[in-house]
């Protein structure tokens, strides 16, 4: 039997190895991001630093971090010094990491006494110091304010976690027990995947597995190139703005990209992107790479596997010292702000290239944390999603993360949060008329209201809250959302998009409104039946229908919004 015939079996087995590691981490971690959001990552790589497979839940942001950081680890800690049972960790944002709270954990898998593969896991741990509990420091001006930095170091040996490492991690965390719970989960996840990989080595043989991996990567590269070749050739440019850096609320920043498509592959050159700033809106290179690759893949065959083979066909150029490739000590904690702008720029460039699959810009996720003002610490770390931009032929989904495939599943429910934290979730609603009007309508933003039963600190990191996602091809922008404080007398005050530890008193409420997606095509061309259906479902109000679409609000159409609340 030829190996090529059963390649599919091996490929699945490699992904399953990562999948198992992911399951173990999700189930046993403490970090609130993880326990409510199932956002754990796991990957299998080889000693050459090639990404072979990652688990289903792994975002490209995390798998690119794991891929870019592995050669850095091997540079500092040579392969020949590694021992079976050793586990390594880093979070250095300038060497593949993301930001201090995201720990990258690696375990070598040995063949004939030398590491041949690595299994890796990664989550946002509960707290590793910095300006704000839980790892959000939106007003950090250098990386030292973001928390503890870890160069590549040994985290554990066959005897267990290094006592010195445990002491350091505990000493730098507001939640030492939880952080160690998270770290143990990460270590256990690598062990599960390593055991699986060892059994694959047994089953396929050393050479057989190596050949199978090579085939898998080649196969992926071939499919990626074939799919790229179906896109029109040419050079497509676009830019996308960032509201502000949180320090200077007036000044916006820009990401620029030129996408060149030809028969051999794709080049994404971000030359012209604004320089890095001493504020938390820079990204490490691994994160920008993830954004660029993700955006391109959205225009390719979705069934292509994700591994190093795919990366070979996509050349991403990130100017050093720019917002997309920051150098020390420029802070990287707010990386999603520039990389979402980078993704949007690529989407817009490719929408010009392939108009029949165009997408208008979207509202993005709006992270925030709510935390106790002092010990004992409790923290609720979460994010709400903006509406997705309209697609050619389709409205945008409401309040759904479009980017990196995150979905509404990440948003916690009221009951478990209320049973854990001193607050009341008053409402979770979609905001009528917030989707950008157009022939195809942008998805709606959402509004969530938290009323506090104890004093607490609120930290936010928003964007697209000043500059709305612009409409495409005659569509209108989405409605901007924001973060708000409702005072005891009921007055509502808008907060800046990026605030750190704003104190709320018991009885006050924190309101999160997300931004709607932009519309595509002129609203006047919208199918009247679609406007009626939106009215019926409460997605637009009679006034919105009249003002945005010029729809006659006949008396037979009753406002769903007023009727549905008894």
């Amino acid at each position: 039997m030829s190996d090529a015939l059963t390649a599919e079996v091996l490929r699945n087995a490699l992904v399953v190895a990562a999948e198992e590691a992911s399951i173990v981490v999700v189930r046993s971690a403490y970090s609130t991001f993880i326990v409510e959001g199932s956002d754990a990552s796991a990957a299998v790589l080889d000693a050459r630093g090639r990404l072979i497979a990652h688990s289903m839940a792994t975002t490209l942001m995390n798998s690119m971090a794991l891929k870019v950081a592995l050669p850095e680890l091997i540079e500092d800690i040579p392969l020949e010094t590694m021992r079976p049972g050793d586990v390594y960790v880093l979070n250095d944002a300038y060497r593949g990491g993301v930001h201090t709270n995201d720990l990258l954990v690696y375990r070598p898998v040995f063949v004939g006494g030398t590491p041949a593969y690595f299994t890796a896991t990664m989550i946002h741990v509960s707290d590793l110091g910095g300006l704000s509990a839980g790892g959000m420091a939106p007003l950090a001006t250098d990386i030292f304010l973001e928390g503890l930095q870890l160069p590549p170091v040994r985290l554990a040996t066959a005897d267990g976690i290094e006592p010195a490492m445990e002491a350091i991690l505990r000493a730098n965390s507001r939640t030492p027990d939880k952080v160690m719970g998270d770290v143990r989960a990460l270590v256990a996840g690598t062990a599960v995947a390593a055991a699986r990989l060892e059994s694959l080595i047994g089953e396929y043989g050393v050479e057989g597995l190596a050949a199978g991996v090579d085939d898998y990567l080649d196969y992926t590269e071939a499919r990626t190139r074939a799919s790229l070749a179906e896109l029109p050739e040419g050079r497509f440019e676009a830019a996308y703005p960032i509201d502000d850096d949180g320090i200077n609320p007036e000044k916006s920043h820009h990401i620029r990209v030129a996408v060149t498509l030809d028969a051999t592959g794709a080049v994404l050159d971000f030359a012209g992107t604004d320089p890095q700033v001493p504020a938390a809106v820079n990204a490490s290179a691994s994160q920008s790479l993830a954004a660029a690759v993700f955006a391109v893949r959205c225009f390719l065959d979705p069934t292509i596997p994700m591994n190093d083979g795919c990366l070979r066909a996509i050349d991403v150029r990130l100017p050093e010292g720019s917002l997309l490739n920051a150098r020390s000590p420029y802070p990287c904690g707010g990386r999603y702000v520039p990389i979402y702008a980078a993704m949007e720029a690529v989407f817009q460039a490719l929408s010009d290239a392939v108009p029949e699959r165009a997408i208008a810009p979207s509202g993005i996720l709006q992270p925030f944390s709510i935390a106790a003002v002092g010990a004992p610490y409790w923290i609720h770390l979460s994010y709400d999603f903006g509406g997705v931009g309209a697609r050619q032929g389709l409205d945008g989904p409401d309040a759904t993360g479009v980017h990196f495939g995150v979905g509404r599943n990440s948003v916690p429910q009221a009951e478990p949060v209320e049973s854990r934290c001193p607050l009341i979730v008053e409402s979770i609603e979609t905001i009528p008329d917030s989707g950008g009007p157009g022939r195809f309508r942008g998805g709606l933003g959402s509004r969530t209201v938290y009323r506090f039963l104890a004093d607490c600190h609120v930290t936010t990191r928003g964007d697209r809250l000043r500059l709305p996602p612009p409409g495409r091809d005659g569509g209108l922008p989405g409605r901007v959302g924001g973060f708000f404080k409702r005072h005891l007398d009921g007055t509502v005050e808008r907060l800046a998009s990026k605030v750190n530890n704003v104190r709320f008193a018991a009885g006050e409420a924190f309101i999160v409104e997300t931004t709607g997606g932009a519309g595509l095509g002129p609203p006047s061309e919208r199918d009247p039946a679609a406007v009626l259906a939106d009215l019926e479902a409460g997605r637009v109000t009679p006034r919105g229908a009249a003002e945005d679409y010029g729809a006659e609000t006949q008396s037979s159409i009753r406002s769903a919004g007023s009727k549905l609340i008894g």
Partner: protein, 672 residues
């Protein structure tokens, strides 16, 4: 003589098994009648009864896909959803994950919600996580909602208010008002009072969605069986493997969603081994489940209509249902799965299935794509024995793969066989290795049309050395129905309840009332368990109850280590309290008398045909036996073929026929 009847309605076949007091069995298999499932049932029951007296039927146990199909095909009744003010968007917004291929899909649209946005309503009230009333119920707001529901002509309502598990009073009041104008009202505190409003709401909505269908279906079934002279009580299998009365099934329809698969697992559990993996492979999917100590593993949440991935029904891709169900993994790999070459020329199998129309190429019904069944025919595993199959058409279909791959026809066929075995193995993997269970030492019990053909190869992948193919493996689910106890489950979420005994007592009393039994009856068994988690974590594990906190902590830590492989210690908290009440369904079902074997036939000289075994270098002349005429022990390679199934005995395996007419395959050279 008294009889009990098991009826399993599947997608293709309706299976009926009749068993008498003496243990004698009669079996009928007929085509399902999807537009009127009862018609197929009546045909099957009539056949199985033959000339027996219908008045002597004491009980009919039914597994039905009615609820599942209603959900999958969105054919339930229109439901109004009623919740606390501020939360009506929760259902339309949904909570869903994207599976791998959706991730890069900018044209992804969320699955349509189980209730349309305009049919979601709010009432003014609020209860805290501890059950205190923060805002009293505004009855006028309920009346306005009731009027609007009626105006819209909606006949079924699901009520799920925040924290109703902690205090159900408002839900009860809302239901009482709604019932004045809405015929069917279901509350979340009655269906499944467990914390996490989204899953509790979808469970309640699904109950309201399929309850009226189930009630009318079961009442018709009763009437039409009475027309045959059968006046026996009708029982329905629950997803968790217990059986409940038809009346209760109508009220708790959501508990019957996994009715059919559960019955199959019970059959496997009864195969004579304490620890088994049930392996059921049909035309479009394969399902696996673990049974330990005779008890199938139970899950407390599953998803209907979701997408699978690596054998798991992935959370967030379907509608979550929070009632206990036998923990199955399912993959889209069956006899009808189509083999194809992807854009880069790699061989893939499934998940698309040729179904029964056009079916595999060898059926000669117009299908030309190569399927697993075609591959098995080319390999000589299958023959035209029971259904006419066309080897020429199968050859032609496989050549469509072999040509582009540059390999021989039989190599292509074996690759298809192997890929599909691997895919099925991933279902086994999910329920064993992924749950921290070492599958070696388990027996693999294979049934379903295609299971016994692949079972030994799947077993080999896990180092499993015993495969069991039960007698009547073609109607295993219907036979399994007769093994179910009367049983029902209850849950209540109450963080560290001050008086757990009182919680358990009230749950047990409700359950006993539903089953119509007395808790003082010695035959009634009560199992109590509790969901425990580390303080600060969100995932919990269910362990058997003990009033001692230390014992609970130690049980929890043991289970935690088993599931996650991590020895962890810490402060625990109790989240939810569970009971399962069980009572024997009837004396016949308890009887452990082995299924009598048909009269022994004299061993026959076997037939023979060429079958492909790569370890023997390709095609070899292979003896073909039937179960009735096989010698007591056979050495592979061999094929055992009869109307029930085709069993492939690969080289290095030995087949033995047991007293109960099951075939046991054993790996290795030991002779029994």
């Amino acid at each position: 003589m008294d009889y009990v009847i098991g009826v399993d309605v599947g997608g293709t076949f309706t299976d009926v098994v009749l068993r008498g007091t003496s243990g004698a069995i009669s079996v009928a298999k007929c085509l399902s009648t999807p537009h009127d499932p009862i018609a197929g049932i009546l045909t099957g029951v009539t056949q199985a009864l033959a000339d027996r007296d219908p008045a002597q039927v004491r009980r009919v146990v039914h597994a039905t896909t009615l609820a599942t199909n209603a959900v999958l095909e969105r054919k339930g009744v229109r439901v109004a959803y009623v919740t606390t003010r501020g939360f009506r968007a929760a259902i339309p917004l949904g909570r869903y994950a994207r599976v791998e291929e959706d991730r890069y899909d900018l044209r992804f649209s969320p699955p349509p919600p189980p209730v349309a946005a305009e049919d979601c309503f709010e009432v003014v009230e609020r209860v805290s996580a501890r059950g205190e009333v923060l805002t009293p119920l505004d009855a006028d707001s309920v009346r306005r909602v009731a009027a609007e529901i009626a105006r819209r002509g909606i006949g079924s309502a699901a009520v799920c208010l925040l924290h109703s598990y902690a205090n159900p009073a408002h839900e009860r009041q809302v239901a009482a008002i709604l019932r004045e104008s809405v015929p069917n009202v279901v509350t979340s505190s009655e269906v499944w009072p467990e914390i996490r409003e989204y899953e509790r709401a979808t469970t309640t909505i699904m109950s309201a969605y399929i309850g009226p269908l189930m009630a009318s279906y079961l009442s018709q079934l009763r009437t039409r069986l009475a027309g045959l002279g059968i006046h026996a009580p009708i029982h329905v299998m629950e997803s968790s493997g217990g059986v409940i009365s038809a009346e209760l099934a109508a009220r708790r329809a959501v508990a019957t969603i996994e009715s059919g698969p559960a019955a199959g697992v019970l059959a496997a559990a009864g195969a004579g081994f304490a620890d088994v993996i049930s392996f059921d492979m049909g035309g479009t999917t394969a399902k696996a489940c673990v049974v330990r100590g005779g008890r199938p593993e139970i899950t407390h949440e599953f998803h209907v209509g979701g997408k699978g991935s690596f054998g798991g029904r992935r959370a967030g891709t379907g509608v979550p249902i929070k009632t206990p169900a036998i923990d199955l993994a399912e993959v889209g790999a069956g006899g009808g799965s189509v083999a194809w070459l992807d854009a880069a020329g790699a061989l893939r199998v499934g998940p698309h299935s040729a179904g029964s129309s056009p079916g595999p190429a060898c059926y000669g019904l117009g299908g030309s794509e190569p399927t697993v069944t075609d591959a098995n025919l080319v390999l000589g595993y299958l023959s035209s024995a029971s259904i006419p199959l066309s080897p020429a058409l199968a050859d032609k279909a496989l050549d469509r793969l072999a040509g582009p791959l540059g390999v021989s026809r039989e190599e292509a066929a074996y690759a298809v066989h192997e890929i599909v075995s691997a895919s099925m193995a991933s279902a086994v993997h999910v329920v064993t290795v992924q749950r921290g269970i070492d599958p070696r030492g388990f027996a693999l019990v294979a049934f379903g049309g295609a299971g016994p053909m692949h079972a030994a190869r799947v077993a080999e992948r896990f180092g499993i050395s015993t495969v069991v193919v039960p007698a009547y493996c073609g109607v295993a689910s219907a036979a399994g129905l007769l093994a179910g106890d009367l049983s029902t489950d209850r849950v209540l979420s109450r963080l560290d309840a001050p008086d757990p005994e009182a919680v358990f007592t009230s749950l047990a009393e409700e359950a006993a009332a539903d089953l119509g039994v007395s808790l003082s009856d010695p035959a009634v068994r009560l199992l109590r368990s509790v969901d425990v988690r580390f303080k600060g974590q969100s995932h919990d594990l269910t362990v058997d109850w003990s009033p001692s906190r230390e014992v609970l902590a130690s049980r929890f830590c043991d289970r935690y280590r088993q599931v996650y492989g991590i020895a962890q210690e810490g402060e625990i908290e109790l989240v939810s309290y569970r009971i399962r009440l069980t009572t024997p369904a009837d004396a016949h079902a308890r009887s452990t008398a082995p299924t009598p074997a048909p009269p022994p036939a004299e061993p026959h000289p076997p037939g023979a045909r060429r079958a492909y075994f790569p370890e023997l270098g390709g095609y070899v002349e292979t003896p073909v036996h039937t179960r009735d005429t096989m010698e007591r022990t056979l050495h592979g390679p061999a094929i055992v073929e009869d109307t029930e199934s085709t069993i492939v005995v690969p080289p290095a395996w030995t087949a033995a026929l047991t007293e109960s007419h099951a075939v046991h395959l054993t790996r290795g050279s030991e002779s029994p």
